[in-house]
C-alpha cells in the first residue's frame, strides 16, 4: 500500500474508532478526509452547489447518527458514498429535473468552462442508471469494483451501464466533441 493510502487508512480507522466510542468531534476528522470527495460527487450528480452542500452535510449527519454501528473494516468509504448516492437520488426525485448550476465556479479558459457546462448538462439529461457509473468511474476515477459495490450491482452490470452511458453521452454531445478534438 502506498504511504499516503496507508496513512489515510490509519487516520480513517482512528476517527471511526473515536466516533464509535462516542467522541462526536471525530466527525471533523472524517469531514476533513472525505468532505471534498463527497461534495464533488454530489455536485456532479446534482448539478448545483446548494444541493451538493446540503447532501454533503446530510451525509455526515447520517454518519454521526449511526456512529455506534461503525466498524473500521475498510468498507467505510463505500458506505459513505452509498449514503451520498441515496441522498442524491432523493433530491433528484424532489426536483424531478436537473437544473444547470447558476452559482458554479468554473475555472480555466472560457472554452473549457463552456465545455464543462455542456458536459454537465448532457450528463444531467442522461438516465440515472447511466449517469451514476460515468460519475463514479470516469469522473471520480473509482475502480469498477468499488463503484459496483456503491451501486449494489455486479461488476459486469456496472460495466454494461458504463459502456451504454458513454454511448448515450456521445450521442448527446455530438458536435461538441468534434470541436474539442
Amino acid at each position: 500500500m502506498p504511504n499516503d493510502a496507508l496513512r489515510d487508512s490509519l487516520a480513517e480507522k482512528r476517527w471511526l474508532t473515536a466516533l464509535s466510542k462516542g467522541d462526536p468531534s471525530a466527525l471533523g476528522g472524517l469531514y476533513e478526509m472525505y468532505g471534498e470527495r463527497i461534495f464533488r460527487y454530489t455536485f456532479r450528480m446534482l448539478g448545483n452547489r446548494t444541493d451538493a452542500e446540503d447532501a454533503t452535510a446530510e451525509t455526515f449527519l447520517r454518519v454521526l447518527r449511526r456512529s455506534t454501528e461503525l466498524r473500521a473494516d475498510g468498507a467505510f468509504r463505500t458506505w459513505l458514498f452509498r449514503i451520498a448516492r441515496n441522498l442524491c437520488i432523493d433530491k433528484m426525485r424532489q426536483h424531478k429535473l436537473m437544473e444547470l448550476p447558476s452559482d458554479a465556479h468554473y475555472s480555466g479558459s472560457e472554452e473549457r468552462a463552456t465545455l464543462r457546462v455542456t458536459v454537465q448538462q448532457a450528463l444531467s439529461d442522461l438516465p440515472i442508471e447511466y449517469r451514476e457509473p460515468l460519475v463514479l468511474c470516469d469522473l471520480e476515477d473509482m475502480a469498477a469494483r468499488e463503484a459496483a459495490e456503491i451501486l449494489k450491482i455486479s461488476v459486469p452490470a456496472l460495466k454494461s451501464r458504463l459502456y451504454r452511458g458513454r454511448r448515450a453521452l456521445r450521442d448527446k454531445l455530438g458536435g461538441t466533441l468534434e470541436r474539442t478534438s
Binding site: 462526536p24 468531534s25 466527525l27 471533523g28 476528522g29 469531514y31 476533513e32 468532505g35 471534498e36 461534495f39 464533488r40 455536485f43 456532479r44 452547489r49 451538493a52 452542500e53 446540503d54 454533503t56 452535510a57 455526515f60 449527519l61 454521526l64 458554479a104 465556479h105 468554473y106 475555472s107 480555466g108 473549457r112 465545455l115 464543462r116 458536459v119 460515468l134 470516469d138 469522473l139 476515477d141 460495466k159 458504463l162 459502456y163 458513454r166 454511448r167 453521452l169 456521445r170 454531445l173 466533441l177 474539442t180 478534438s181
Partner: protein, 95 residues
C-alpha cells in the same frame, strides 16, 4: 484478429483498458474500417473529455457552509482548518 472481435473490444479501448500492442492493432484495423474507426475515436473522446474536466471547486465558502449546516443540526464538529475572519464575525447590516 478480425474486425468482429475488435468491435467487441471497442469499450475496453475507449477506457484505456487494453494493452498498448492490442490498441495499435485495433487502430491499424480501423484505418480500413470506417465504422470501427468512428466507434473507437468517438468513444475514447468521450472518456478523455470526462477525465480531463476540472473538478468542481470545493471552495472555502462551501467548506464552511457545510460545517454550519452540521452545527445547525446539532453535530459537535471541530473544523481542522483555520476559520477565515469573515466567517468569525457578523458584519453590521447597512441601511
Amino acid at each position: 484478429m478480425n474486425n468482429e472481435l475488435y468491435s467487441k473490444l471497442v469499450d475496453l479501448y475507449a477506457g484505456h483498458e487494453l494493452p498498448a500492442e492490442l490498441e495499435d492493432q485495433m487502430e491499424l484495423a480501423a484505418v480500413a474500417d470506417g465504422g470501427l474507426n468512428h466507434e473507437i475515436t468517438t468513444l475514447r473522446r468521450v472518456v478523455d473529455t470526462l477525465q480531463s474536466l476540472e473538478e468542481p471547486d470545493f471552495t472555502e465558502e462551501s467548506y464552511h457552509r457545510i460545517l454550519m449546516k452540521l452545527y445547525a443540526r446539532g453535530a459537535d464538529i471541530q473544523p481542522q482548518a483555520p476559520v477565515s475572519t469573515h466567517f468569525q464575525y457578523n458584519l453590521p447590516l447597512q441601511g
